[in-house]
């Protein structure tokens, strides 16, 4: 799969390298949910900076990753959405409320720290 999933402390970082097929998107969701449970992660970052296009299927999948990861105890932040991609996404008839977003990886990590009250080791 063209997605690198790294573990950083309590957080998972999934970096999507290139456009994904629908089945790869579904597989990514399963993989992330499984890892969240296994590593007891409290935050997930999905980096989509490499994507020129996010279609409605991927947008819906991102929202559902956020919702399901929340059910398993992890907050999700999507980072790297480009301006034109953002404009396209708000025109889909999709509820994007569950989706949290940040400008880039740095901002995403900062947002997760705020959401989860910092890394567990730091407390």
């Amino acid at each position: 799969m063209r997605v690198a999933v790294l573990r950083q402390g309590d957080y998972l970082i999934a970096s999507i390298q290139s456009d994904l097929t629908d089945s790869e998107v579904v597989a990514l969701r399963e993989l992330l949910l499984e890892r969240v449970g296994r590593f007891r992660c409290r935050g997930v970052i999905v980096d989509v900076a490499a994507l020129d296009v996010i279609d409605s299927f991927v947008a819906r999948a991102l929202a559902s990753i956020a919702t399901t990861a929340r059910l398993r105890g992890a907050d999700t932040v999507v980072v790297g959405i480009r301006p034109d991609v953002a404009i396209a996404m708000v025109h889909f008839d999709i509820d994007l409320h569950p989706l949290r977003a940040a400008l880039d990886l740095d901002e995403g990590l900062a947002a997760l720290d705020t959401l989860t009250g910092g890394s567990r080791d730091a407390r």
Partner: protein, 300 residues
Amino acid sequence: MDEHRTAGPAPAEVAGDDRILHELVTHLRNERPALRQEWARRITDASLLSVMTQSEVFSEVTAAYDNYVSALETGSVETLQTYARDLSERIIPRGVDTDEVLGIVLLLRDVLARSLFVRYQDDREMLDRVLDAYEPAANRIAVTVGVSFVQERERVIREQQVAIQELSTPVLQVRERLLILPIIGMLDSDRARQLTEQLLGAIQSHRARVVVIDITGVATIDVTVANHLVQTVEASRLMGASAIITGLSSRIAQTLVDLGVDLSMMRTVGDLQGGLEEAERLLGHRPAEAEDVAREPVGG
């Protein structure tokens, strides 16, 4: 050009047209001072070019006359086109209208035609042939000048539109991570779309976390534009920036509610000052202590 050829009596005489054209041009050159004077007088009589002074009109008339005659002579309108563009560029900012420009060119056509009538009135056949040569060329010149003027004006209008568009949506950085977007005037779909693009670009380049969109200067809003605004806020969020809308007038607020636009996702604050305070809070800068204390009883 075709018109010119079919106007000639027979193909054999086409060669003769050049000679006639030459004679016509020589006549107009000889009569230059008088005809120029006559043209300028008729322009003044018709109160055309009223924004220009007498001497300006006269110097313009001289240049235009020479260009006109040489266009007649060569049949090439390119030099005249350049002159007409250049002239338009100078007179458009002074408020000269299309009808004035066309009126002036048609006046010159009439002045010259009248002079041709006088010159050849005794030779009916010659007059016909001279007019055959003169009329199509003169008409083409009139069209060229008119078109050049309109094109030039359209170019000016396009430039101004671009300038207005750039001016109309300034995205200002107030402090690190905080942008203000003051919107003034009419909001239509085009402008709303352009505004969204500019804002998102600025969020990226300034790494903004909060944007305050101030619509104090917007008088009315309709459903389409309101939805655009909602989408702008949502798109900003996807770029990691929270948007705060300020300055919703009571009229707009009532309109939006009556129209049933869902604004539950929007963070709105009464005025720009309040919006900036809210933005500072979101950014984690604590407002002055005294203000907090003063606020406590109200909130609690």
